[in-house]
C-alpha cells in the first residue's frame, strides 16, 4: 500500500482510496443536471415513439438504386404525404426504412408495391409491419405494468435478503437509470420501440446485479463494523466500494464488449435495425447503470444508514477521536468475516472488550442531538 505503487496496481489489488461517499453532493448534482435536461426535453418534445406504440405502418426494403428523396417522392405519389424515410446499414446491406400513418382507405400492400417498384426489387423483398392504435396502447400499458411489478418484486427480494434501506437505495438507482435513458432518448429523438423497452429492462437487471455485489460486501463489512466501531458507516461503505472497484469496472467492461459489438458491427455495419434498437439503449443504460451503482446507490445507502441511532453513535465517537480510528487489520486488504464461523468468534470477542462504555456514549449522543437542533 505504499505510495510508490502504480494506480494500476492499487486498482488491481483493491487498494484505491477514492472518495465516493464524501463527494455525494457532486455526484447527485451531476445526475440531477442530466435528469433535469432530460425531463425538460421530455416535457417540451416528448418521445419519438415507434409504430408499435402509436400505431401505423412501416416498410423496409433493400435500397437498390433508390435514394431517400426518390423513395419519399414515390410514396407521396402513392398517397403518403407525411412519411419519414431513412437509410439503415451500409454497403450491400443498405436498406430504406419508411414509416407513416395510414389514412382511411389506404392499403399498405399497394404502397408496398410502389416501394418495391421504386427500389427495383420484388414485392417479396419488402418487409412490412402494420400496428393498430389500440394494440400500441395495450403494449405500452403492459410494459408499464411489468416494469412496476418488476421494481416492486426486486425491491421486496433485496429487502428480504439484505434490508429495506438497501432496497430503497437500489430503487433510487434504478429510477435514476430509467430517467437518464428516457431523457437521452427524448433529447436526441431516438425512436422508442419494444426493443428499447427490453433493453432498458435488461439494464435494470445489470444495475441490480452490480448494486447487489457492492451491497453484499457492505453488508459483510457492516457486521464487522458493528463490533469494532472503528470508522463511520460512510467510511466503511467507501472502503467497500474501493475493494470491489476493480470488479465493478471489469463487469462493466465485459458487459459493454458484446453490446459494443452489437452496436458497431451488427447495426452500423451490417444494418440490422433491431440490433441497433437494442444496442443503443443498452449502451446508454449501461453507462448510466455503472454510474448509478457506484455514485447513486451506495451514497444513498450511506446517507440513509447514517441516520440510524447506532451509526450516528459510531460517527460521533469516531469524530471525537479525531477521524479515522486505526483498524485492527489493514482495511482494504482484508475482507472481514471471511467465514461465518470466524466472524462470529471475532465479533463476540470484540464485543466483550467494548462493552464498558455504551451508556456513557448514548447520553452524549442525545446531548449532541439537542445542540444540533438549536
Amino acid at each position: 500500500m505504499s505510495d510508490s505503487t502504480s494506480v494500476w496496481h492499487k486498482l488491481y489489488n483493491g487498494e484505491t482510496r477514492i472518495s465516493f461517499i464524501p463527494r455525494w453532493r457532486l455526484w447527485f448534482a451531476l445526475s440531477g443536471v442530466v435528469i433535469a435536461i432530460g425531463v425538460a426535453s421530455l416535457v417540451s418534445q416528448g418521445l419519438n415513439l415507434g409504430i408499435e406504440f402509436e400505431g401505423g405502418v412501416s416498410w423496409q426494403v433493400p435500397a437498390g438504386d433508390a435514394s431517400v428523396d426518390g423513395m419519399r417522392g414515390a410514396v407521396e405519389d402513392a398517397g403518403l404525404a407525411d412519411a419519414t424515410v431513412q437509410t439503415v446499414g451500409t454497403g450491400s446491406g443498405e436498406r430504406l426504412r419508411i414509416k407513416a400513418e395510414l389514412q382511411e382507405g389506404q392499403d399498405p400492400v399497394e404502397i408496398a408495391a410502389a416501394i418495391a417498384e421504386e427500389a427495383g426489387v420484388d414485392a417479396d423483398e419488402v418487409t412490412q409491419q402494420t400496428v393498430s392504435k389500440s394494440w400500441g396502447d395495450q403494449i405500452t400499458s403492459k410494459a408499464q405494468r411489468a416494469l412496476i411489478v418488476f421494481l416492486v418484486l426486486v425491491s421486496l427480494y433485496i429487502a428480504f435478503r439484505f434490508e429495506w434501506k438497501m432496497a430503497l437505495a437500489t430503487l433510487l438507482a434504478l429510477l435514476h437509470d430509467i430517467l437518464v435513458t428516457v431523457g437521452v432518448y427524448s433529447l436526441f429523438s431516438f425512436e422508442v420501440t419494444p426493443a428499447t423497452v427490453i433493453a432498458i429492462l435488461t439494464i435494470l437487471g445489470y444495475s441490480i446485479y452490480d448494486g447487489i455485489v457492492v451491497f453484499d460486501r457492505i453488508d459483510e463489512n457492516a457486521k464487522a463494523l458493528a463490533v469494532t466501531g472503528d470508522r463511520t458507516y460512510s467510511t466503511m461503505v467507501n472502503d467497500s466500494m474501493n475493494q470491489v472497484l476493480m470488479r465493478t469496472l471489469n463487469t462493466s467492461i465485459t458487459a459493454l464488449l458484446p453490446i459494443l459489438s452489437l452496436l458497431v458491427l451488427g447495426s452500423l455495419v451490417l444494418g440490422a435495425t433491431t440490433l441497433q434498437e437494442f444496442a443503443l439503449a443498452l449502451f446508454i443504460g449501461l453507462a448510466s447503470g455503472a454510474y448509478s451503482s457506484i455514485f447513486i446507490a451506495s451514497p444513498a445507502l450511506a446517507l440513509l444508514k447514517e441516520r440510524e441511532e447506532r451509526w450516528r453513535t459510531v460517527r460521533q465517537r469516531v469524530e471525537r477521536l479525531g477521524g479515522r480510528v486505526p483498524a485492527p487489520a489493514p482495511v482494504a486488504a482484508a475482507p472481514v468475516a471471511r467465514d461465518a464461523d470466524d466472524a462470529e468468534e471475532e465479533i463476540s470477542s470484540i464485543r466483550q472488550a467494548s462493552r464498558e462504555q455504551p451508556t456513557a456514549r448514548a447520553i452524549q449522543a442525545r446531548g449532541r442531538k439537542k445542540q444540533r437542533r438549536r
Binding site: 488491481y12 483493491g14 423496409q60 433493400p62 446491406g93 400492400v109 417479396d124 419488402v126 418487409t127 412490412q128 409491419q129 400496428v131 393498430s132 389500440s134 394494440w135 395495450q138 411489468a146 411489478v149 418488476f150 418484486l153 426486486v154 427480494y157 433485496i158 419494444p194 426493443a195 423497452v197 427490453i198 429492462l201 435494470l204 437487471g205 445489470y206 441490480i208 446485479y209 447487489i212 455485489v213 453484499d216 470491489v244 476493480m246 470488479r247 471489469n250 463487469t251 467492461i253 465485459t254 458487459a255 464488449l257 458484446p258 453490446i259 459494443l260 459489438s261 452489437l262 458491427l265 451488427g266 451490417l270 440490422a272 433491431t274 440490433l275 482484508a334 475482507p335 471471511r338 467465514d339
Partner: protein, 492 residues
Amino acid sequence: MRRRRSTALIFIVLVAITGVVLSIVTDSSPELGLDLQGGASVVLQPPDGTESESIDQAIEIIRSRVDALGVAEPDIVRQGDTVLVELPGVKDQQRALDIVGQTAELRFRPVLNVLPPEGEEPEPTTTTTTTSTTTTTVAGETATTAAETTTTTTSTTTTTVPPDEIETTAPEEDTDPAVEVVLPDKDGSSRYVLGPTTVLGNAISTASAAFQGEWTVHLEMTADGIGGFNTLAGECFNRAGTCPTGLLAITLDGQVVSAPAIREATFERDQISISGGFGEGEAKDLSLVLRYGALPIQLERQDAQTVSASLGKDSLNAGLLAGAVGTALVLLYMLVYYRLLGAVVIAGLAVWGSLMWSIVSWLGATQGLALSLAGVTGIIVSIGVTGDSYIVFFERLKDEIRGGATIRTSVDRGFRHAFRTILIADTSAFIGAATLYLLTVGPVRGFAFFLGLSTILDVTVAWFFTRPLVGILARRRKFTSGSFIGVRGGAV
C-alpha cells in the same frame, strides 16, 4: 472432497457433450423465429368480453386454414386474450395474413349431392356412411330408433353418382352463401355439393351437448332464426328439389362439420337435437362449433408483420457475427486479465454454450420455441452476465489470497462467498425475467425467456463446472506457483 469435485465436473461436461451429440444425431438445431428466416406474423384480438371457448374455437379455425396454406412450422398460440399467428417462411405473405384474419361464418346448407373425395373413384354400391350416422330429431324421440331410422333413410336416398356425373361447376371456396359450393367434410372422406342458403350462424341461440342414453347435441334457435331454419328443414324433409338428399349440412369456414338427416317437417325453436353415434368429444365439438357460429368472433388485426427472407437472413448473420465478436472480445479480456483463470472462463462458456444450444434445440423441436432476434440479443447480453459471475468469483478469490489464506483454502472460501453473491444477483435477474415473461407480449417475452434461461445456466455452470475445476487446478503446484491469477505476494 476431491472425488466429489471431479464427479460434478465430469457430470456437467458429460451432460453438455450428450446434449450437443443428441442435437447433432437428431439433426435438430434451434428453430429460428420469423424475424430471422422471413415470414409473416399477426396478432389477432377478439372484442372485449369474448368467451374464452370461442377464442379457442377461432384458433382451431385458424389452425386448419394455416394447414391448408402448407406452412411448415406454423406457430399459433394464445397469449391471454390475443392470438399470435406466426408463419415462418410462408410465400405470398399478405395473402396468407388476409386468409388467417377472415371471420369464419357458420351456415346451414341443404346437401344436393355427396361425392367421394377428390381424385377417388366412387365405389358403385356403397352409400356414404358419414352422413347416415347423424340425424336431427325432435327431442324426446328415443335415440336408438332415430339412429336406426336414419340409417335406412339415408342409405335409400343417397344415391351414388356415376363418375361422369361428378363434374360440377360449383366453386370450392365458400365465399357467398347465396351460391352453390362443393365442400369437404372435416376428415376429407367425402365432398358435399351444397345448395344456397339464407340460414346462417346468427340464427342459433345456443347449443349444448348432453348424455341421454347416447351423446346428443341440443340446438336452440333464435325467435328470428327458427322461421328460415324450418323452411329449409321442411324442404329437406320433403326431399324437395332444393334438398334431394334430405340432409342439412352445417358448414363452418369451408368445411362440412356435420350433415344430419332431417327427421321432422318443422321444429320447435328450443326442441332440436342432433344425435346418432356421437362420442362425447364429437358431441361437445359440434356444440362448440354451433355456439361459436352463433357469435362468430371478429378478430381484429393488431400487429401484422411481414419479414422478407433476405432481411431475416441478414439479421441472423448480423446477430451471429456480432455475438461471435462480442464473445471473442470478452474472452480475450478475461485471458489478458486473469491469465490461466481466463482459460477456465473459456471452458466454462463452452459448457454454457453447449447446454444453451442443446436446450434451445430441444425446446425448438418439442415445444416449437423459436429463437427470435430478441432472443439472440438476450443470449448475447447474458454472455456479459455470465462473465460477471466469473469476475465476482475471481475477485473474491484474490481478496482471500491477499487476506493471507492459501490458494487451496481461498478457492473454497472464495467460492462460497462468491456463489452467495451470484445466487442473489441471478435470483433478482430471474425475478425480472419471469415478471417480463408473464406480464408482457410479443418480442419482450422471447427476450425474457432466454434471459431467464441463461441465469439458470449461469448458476448451474458456476456450481458444477467452475467450482470443481478451479478447485482441482488449485491443488496443482504447477498452477499455484507464479502468476496463477496474477496475485502477487499472496502466501501460497
